[in-house]
């Protein structure tokens, strides 16, 4: 795949005329997807996909394009030349872009992560037996993922990794559910079977009769997966500098009113794990670690080079849409053994669902409980709760109401596959909030 990308780059860069610049980004995958329902195969298949995105700068204009890489060099070069010709014409028609982000050659990188994964043809026989005896539903995604970036000034990055992810739910006859995500690079059959066995054990707790909780405010422990869902909201009208400048960020109170979150809350963009490439679609390399909120104080937003040019800020080489690519929230000092006793009475939420801003400037987020969510009394789990809606602001549960932060962080893997398999995940601990509002 890398050779194909290199050849295509070489061919298209040769086509450039004087004062033209071109950046090519590649994203591709060789993936297996198996969908399960009732511990049986619902849909199964393979996808080979590769896409080249072109960013062409000429005449003080920027044009973009993309095409699917067929794997046939003649076809792909012809597609690339066709796009170049189209963009060259268009660059004479559209308005000037005063905030051009020019490519540069700041050095190249190359990272290939190989793994001893599960062969596509072995997947069904390896996965199915351990699922039996329980209502299992979910998705298996497996294979290689590729990212590349090169520009006509000679800079080139390549990132390639191999991974698997089994994202699933176990369901009781009364429709109570436990969530599990088994992911990694090297396949270990014993580890898989043990992981699934632990999920089955958790499911036993869900067989207790669920209780209905009234609306109101409760002490609440959020497991890391739930915290990760809240943090992912920062990528949508949150931590982006452009969002702040354009009046559509929930971080406005921190920027304009000097509102602070809890001193126990710190989050950074941290690429040290190497799970995702450090280069963005401009080929720019992000810093290894960028503190965003430190001890409750907003230190940095995500600033792309375009935003920097437009608003006079300093770029930190964020992706164009200024979303979190490799976030890590700091752990605290509440050990897992002390979670239930510290909570004493309240909600234990393992997962939350379908989050949206209900009042973005106020930082208010609505969503629902889902999966293993429990009512706790006297420091003991009493029963699962029926689904409840919440509506509360992160300025409270990451702010004044943040009572404790878990001592252990977990990697919550990115399992989304819109447009292609995503990489990486969110590293975060659980949190204990002294008050959290249920509304329906």
């Amino acid at each position: 795949m890398e050779q194909m990308f290199t050849s295509l780059c070489d061919a298209l860069f040769l086509e450039l005329e004087k004062d033209e610049l071109l950046t090519l980004s590649f994203g591709g995958e060789n993936s297996q997807f198996i969908r399960f329902n009732n511990a049986a195969v619902r849909q199964t298949g393979l996808v080979d996909d590769g896409n080249i995105e072109l960013k062409f700068i000429a005449n003080e204009r920027t044009c973009t394009g993309s095409f699917t890489v067929s794997g046939n060099p003649d076809t792909d070069i012809a597609r690339g030349k066709g796009e170049l010709a189209r963009m060259r014409t268009e660059a004479n028609e559209i308005p000037k872009d005063p905030f051009l982000v020019m490519p540069s050659n700041a050095g190249s990188s190359h990272e290939v992560q190989n793994a001893n994964g599960l062969a596509f043809d072995d997947a069904v026989d390896a996965l199915l037996p351990a699922m039996q005896g329980v209502d299992f539903v979910g998705i298996w995604a497996n294979g290689r993922v590729f990212r590349g970036n090169a520009n006509s000034l000679g800079q080139k990055h390549w990132f390639e990794t191999e991974s698997f992810c089994l994202d699933y739910s176990l369901v009781t006859p009364s429709h109570q559910m436990v969530k599990g995500t088994f992911s990694g690079s090297d396949w270990d059959q014993d580890e898989y079977e043990n992981y699934l066995a632990q999920s089955k054990d958790k499911l036993k707790l869900m067989k207790r009769k669920p209780v209905k909780v009234s609306t109101g405010e409760y002490r609440t422990w959020f497991e890391p997966a739930a915290v990760a869902d809240f943090l992912s909201m920062f990528s949508w009208n949150g931590i982006s500098e452009a969002s702040l400048q354009q009046g559509c960020s929930g971080f406005g109170k921190m920027r304009h009113d000097d509102t602070r979150l809890s001193p126990s809350f710190s989050i950074a963009e941290d690429f040290s794990s190497g799970m995702v490439p450090r280069f963005n679609s401009n080929g720019e390399i992000s810093p290894d670690v960028l503190p965003l909120i430190q001890d409750g104080e907003l230190r940095n937003t995500l600033v792309s080079s375009r935003t920097a040019a437009e608003y006079g800020a300093e770029t930190n080489y964020a992706e164009g849409d200024e979303y979190l690519r490799s976030p890590r929230m700091n752990s605290g000092d509440l050990s897992q053994d002390e979670v239930l006793s510290s909570l004493d009475k309240g909600l234990y939420l393992s997962n939350i669902h379908y989050l949206n801003w209900s009042d973005n400037p106020g930082g208010r987020i609505t969503g629902l409980t889902r999966y293993a969510c429990f009512w706790v009394e006297h420091g003991e789990i009493q029963a699962p709760i029926k689904t409840m809606r919440f509506d509360d602001t992160f300025y409270r549960f990451f702010g004044d109401e943040l009572e404790a932060v878990g001592a252990k962080t977990e990697l919550i893997p990115e399992v989304q596959t819109y447009g292609g398999r995503n990489m990486g995940g969110i590293v975060c601990p659980g949190i204990l909030a002294s008050s959290f509002a249920l509304t329906l």
Binding site: T44, G45, L46, D48, E93, P361, Y418
Partner: protein, 480 residues
């Protein structure tokens, strides 16, 4: 570069002993153009082209999505799809025959008067720049944006049992957006909410719409919201405009009635449904005024088509009639699995995803109340327009939706504008509280390009059309 292959030739390259073979080729090109704050921020053209070879082996379908459009590529793809299906066949969740892929031959073409290339990139940028200038009604408009995206799609499907379908689509998505701000008071107004203005249409779209007048109004309303009072909290009558009814139908009717959800396929991702298979033909889903159709025949609606991606011919069907649930949103696979009558809605986002049950055009049929009659019937209530926030539980019960713009209704009159309007409820009782349905002249056609579902994940286009509606005694509230 549009497709230049003969898909019928490709099926001859399949040399595996499958019980059925299909090839679905998709070419799609998006051309977004955006002016934000007076400067171009997007002028692109993003194309994808590939095919999915699908085989049926011992009752199990297997697929291979590939961008290799050659005879050799299809041959390799069919072998790999065959191996996947064969391995899985002994563990199938459901066993199918070729009945799941009915034979059909036909064509569909989006209606349009002006071709995509009848407006140049430069002309379109000028229209968008003019629109921006009309959006920017004040210095308090801190950001404004005008967006136009054209989409061309060519779909071809051939199968070993004789299907031969070609469908060509031309679509436009259009949005205007203005954000007014003073410190942390931020208010955004758009053209239909959530990119709701999207159609199957040609470049005549830009002739028909009074774009500059809309832009001016959007800018003025964003400014108006800045100084508006918060929406009051309480239970009151709620009048919902068509561009928010779109979302209400989508989330609390459409997804709840997808038969693959009811059968449990989506429980690990999108969720389940409060609707059970035994509810079809019996459940009083809403009041007697509620009539919902699956209608792929509405000219220019975003998700009109002739055939679904399994080859089933698409026809207009009542899903809910006089409030009673009659039919599910299930394609042929779901109909065979469930025994519930369905529709042609087995759809995939592109060549690299397998079809699943999706909404297409799902509409609320008009009633006979004029807008003035609806408003004048309300003593204490609120009128809301344009979605900005949406959330609903995994059974499609407890929803909470937020809108951009609202006006109070007091003693039968629209009175003052209020900001940050939200409402919440539970789907089945909410629809049973439907008290009045607007007439044809309140009927608006909208859609969304961003409906997410499925594992692996897929985003698909849907259309929703609805009149203005009145619901009784709804929980309403404002911002933080």
């Amino acid at each position: 570069m549009k497709p230049d292959i003969n898909i019928k030739d490709l099926i001859s390259a399949v040399d595996v002993p499958a019980d059925w073979v299909g090839i679905r080729e998709v070419y799609e090109a998006h051309t977004p153009r955006v002016i934000r704050d007076g400067v171009p921020v997007a002028n692109g053209r993003f194309a994808t082209h590939g095919l999915m070879v699908e085989v049926l082996v011992d009752g199990q379908f297997g697929y291979y999505g590939t961008p290799d459009l050659t005879l050799d590529g299809v041959s390799r793809a069919s072998k790999k799809a065959f191996t996947q299906a064969r391995h899985a066949a002994k563990h199938s969740a459901c066993s199918f025959t070729e009945q799941a892929r009915p034979k059909n031959v036909g064509k569909y073409q989006s209606p349009f008067a002006k071709k995509k290339d009848s407006i140049s990139a430069g002309q379109l940028n000028k229209i968008l720049l003019d629109a921006y200038n009309h959006l920017k009604v004040s210095d308090k408009i801190v950001s404004a944006r005008a967006l136009a995206q054209t989409i061309e799609t060519i779909f071809r499907f051939v199968s070993s049992n004789g299907s031969d379908i070609t469908q060509e689509f031309l679509m436009v998505e259009f949005d205007l957006s203005a954000t007014a701000a003073e410190g942390t008071n931020q208010q955004t107004r758009t053209f239909g909410g959530m990119r709701g203005t999207c159609r199957q249409i040609g470049m005549e779209f830009f002739d028909q719409w009074e774009i500059m007048a809309h832009a001016q109004k959007i800018g003025e309303q964003a400014l108006e919201l800045l100084s508006a009072d918060e929406t009051p909290t309480g239970e009151m009558d709620l009048v919902i405009a068509s561009d928010q009814m779109m979302l209400q139908i989508h989330e609390s009717v459409g997804h709840a009635l997808e038969v693959d959800r009811i059968l449990g396929d989506e429980r690990n991702y999108a969720g389940w449904s409060f609707v059970k298979l035994e509810d079809f033909g019996k459940l009083q889903y809403g009041s007697k005024l509620m009539n919902i159709t699956f209608d792929p025949t509405v000219s220019s609606e975003f998700a009109s088509y002739g055939y679904d991606d399994g080859g089933l011919k698409a026809t207009r069907e009542y899903i809910i009639k006089d409030g009673v649930l009659l039919r599910g949103l299930g394609g042929m696979e779901s109909q065979l699995r469930s025994g519930v009558p369905g529709v042609a809605n087995f759809r995939a986002s592109s060549w690299n995803r397998a079809p699943i049950d999706r909404m297409a055009n799902l509409n609320l049929e008009p009633g006979n109340a004029s807008f003035d009659n609806i408003i004048s019937s309300v003593e204490k209530g609120i009128y809301m327009e344009s979605n900005r926030s949406w959330s609903i539980d995994d059974y499609r019960n407890k929803f909470q939706f937020g809108c951009e713009y609202a006006k109070l209704i007091e003693n039968g009159n629209l009175t003052k504008t209020v900001r940050n309007p939200n409402y919440r409820g539970i789907s089945n009782p909410f629809w049973n509280s439907l008290k009045m349905v607007g007439s044809e002249d309140t009927f608006g056609i909208y859609g969304t390009p961003n409906c997410g579902k499925g594992e692996p994940n897929q985003v698909i286009r849907v259309g929703h059309a609805s009149p203005v509606c009145l619901f009784e005694n709804v929980q309403v509230f404002g911002g933080a």
